[in-house]
């Protein structure tokens, strides 16, 4: 990053190659739209480059990077209102996309069930409050430690623990049709 601060293109390329995948996964998980991940990732690195002179290596680079990614993704979802109206408590008609009492999927159906699960997870995550969503995606996708997530969200580890727990509880309710024992 210090070389990037001086405008070294190849250093910036190396940084990009190393971190663009995780940022892209975070963006896709956060906004719930894989199609936006590519452009959001570019936006993140564009912002990194613009802000390179202000970077100070006091914190981990990835913390700084995810802070930028988080802010841009927040702007994105606020502008586009990706949020899907989902009854997170499962109190509506509840129609799970897949009824666990159905016979096990035959061979060949696994793919569609998997895609359905992905879509349901994305839908449920999109319905989470922003802080819960950020903490959950950073934890589940990138497996960041609570301490680092706390630095990104500017909150304590205890707060991160609570955010991730509450998010998981809500997802448990929304995924009850997919859980073997019904949750």
């Amino acid at each position: 990053m210090l070389r990037v601060k001086e405008g070294d293109r190849e250093a910036f390329r190396a940084l990009f190659e190393k971190h663009s995948g995780p940022v892209s996964r975070f963006a896709a998980g956060f906004v719930g739209a894989a199609a936006r991940a590519d452009e959001l990732t570019q936006d993140v690195f564009l912002q990194v480059y613009r802000s390179r002179e202000r970077y100070e290596p006091r914190a981990k680079f990835s913390t700084w990077l995810y802070t930028i990614a988080h802010n841009l993704c927040l702007n994105e979802v606020r502008r586009h209102d990706y949020r899907t109206r989902v009854d997170m408590d499962g109190q509506d008609d509840g129609e799970p996309a897949w009824d666990p009492s159905d016979p096990a999927p035959a061979e060949g159906e696994g793919y569609s069930v998997q895609r359905e699960l992905e879509a349901r997870v994305a839908e449920l995550i999109a319905g989470l409050p922003e802080a819960q969503r950020t903490a959950l995606v950073l934890s589940r996708v990138e497996e960041l430690r609570y301490q680092q997530i706390g630095e990104i969200l500017a909150c304590s580890e205890q707060a991160v623990k609570s955010l991730i727990f509450r998010a998981t509880q809500r997802l448990k309710a929304g995924l009850k049709g997919y859980l073997e024992d019904g949750g």
Partner: protein, 243 residues
């Protein structure tokens, strides 16, 4: 340790985020409490389903191109001519806008929209033309934007031209407009009209670095709903005849 406290620590336990003492206490409680064991299983299954769903979604992502990014950086570093051309086109009907990552571009289109809306409001309420002229900067380019030279053979001004021509309307309203329209169709732009003129200046550095400051303004959020000037005037009860 109560069941509620234990349940609140279960996900952190699964994430390996509990200190040894708390981990042991939670494990001991779960070992002897059937309800908590069931909850633990459900949370663990949820955690795995979510990770599985997110990872699968992330696995199919296209790899972002560094070259495309670098092209944007270079464009960002030298925004002069192409940027202005793009901003001009953004004021026309059918111009597409990518809303992600517009950064300063989005802001200045937004600023253009604000200025345009303000100009339109002034015209529609019948602000005397001389007052809008007083507000116009004295630079030759700005004067060109608000003072199109009269031409002969004019018919009637189009709605778009009326706003631009509002200042000289008292002197030669019918003649000024077609020239302006002709320039909007084809010519380069510093003289294309008020819509263009507001976008001629690059944003201050503070705004470049803090695009988030303005992104939540209603006018920015609803950029795509902004009607083009001609459409606005065409729908206006006054038919854009004010001024």
């Amino acid at each position: 340790m109560s069941c509620e406290t234990v349940i609140g620590s279960m996900v952190a336990l699964l994430d390996g985020e509990l200190q040894a003492g708390e981990r042991a206490a939670v494990a001991a409680h779960v070992a002897q409490c059937a309800a908590c064991r069931a909850e633990m299983r459900a949370l663990q299954a949820t955690r795995e389903l979510v990770s599985q769903g997110l990872r699968a979604a992330g696995a199919g992502l296209e790899r972002t191109s560094f070259d495309a990014l670098w092209a944007r950086i270079e464009q960002d570093a030298a925004p002069a001519a192409p940027e202005r051309a793009r901003l001009r086109s953004a004021g026309r009907p059918g111009a597409s806008r990518s809303r992600v990552g517009q950064g300063r571009r989005g802001l200045w289109i937004g600023a253009g929209g604000l200025a345009l809306a303000a100009s339109l409001a002034l015209v529609l309420v019948g602000l005397p033309p001389d007052r809008t002229a007083e507000r116009a900067p004295a630079s030759p380019e700005r004067r060109a934007a608000v003072e199109p030279p009269p031409v002969s053979g004019a018919t009637g001004p189009t709605p778009a031209a009326r706003v631009v021509a509002s200042k000289p309307a008292a002197a030669a309203p019918a003649k000024a407009a077609p020239e302006v329209v002709a320039r909007q169709e084809g010519a380069p732009a510093a003289e294309t009209g008020a819509v263009v003129a507001v976008n001629e200046i690059d944003p201050p550095r503070e705004l470049l670095e803090r695009p988030d400051l303005f992104l939540n303004y209603p006018i920015v959020r609803k950029l795509d709903e902004l009607q083009h000037l001609e459409a606005v005037l065409a729908e206006s009860p006054n038919g854009g005849s004010a001024g």
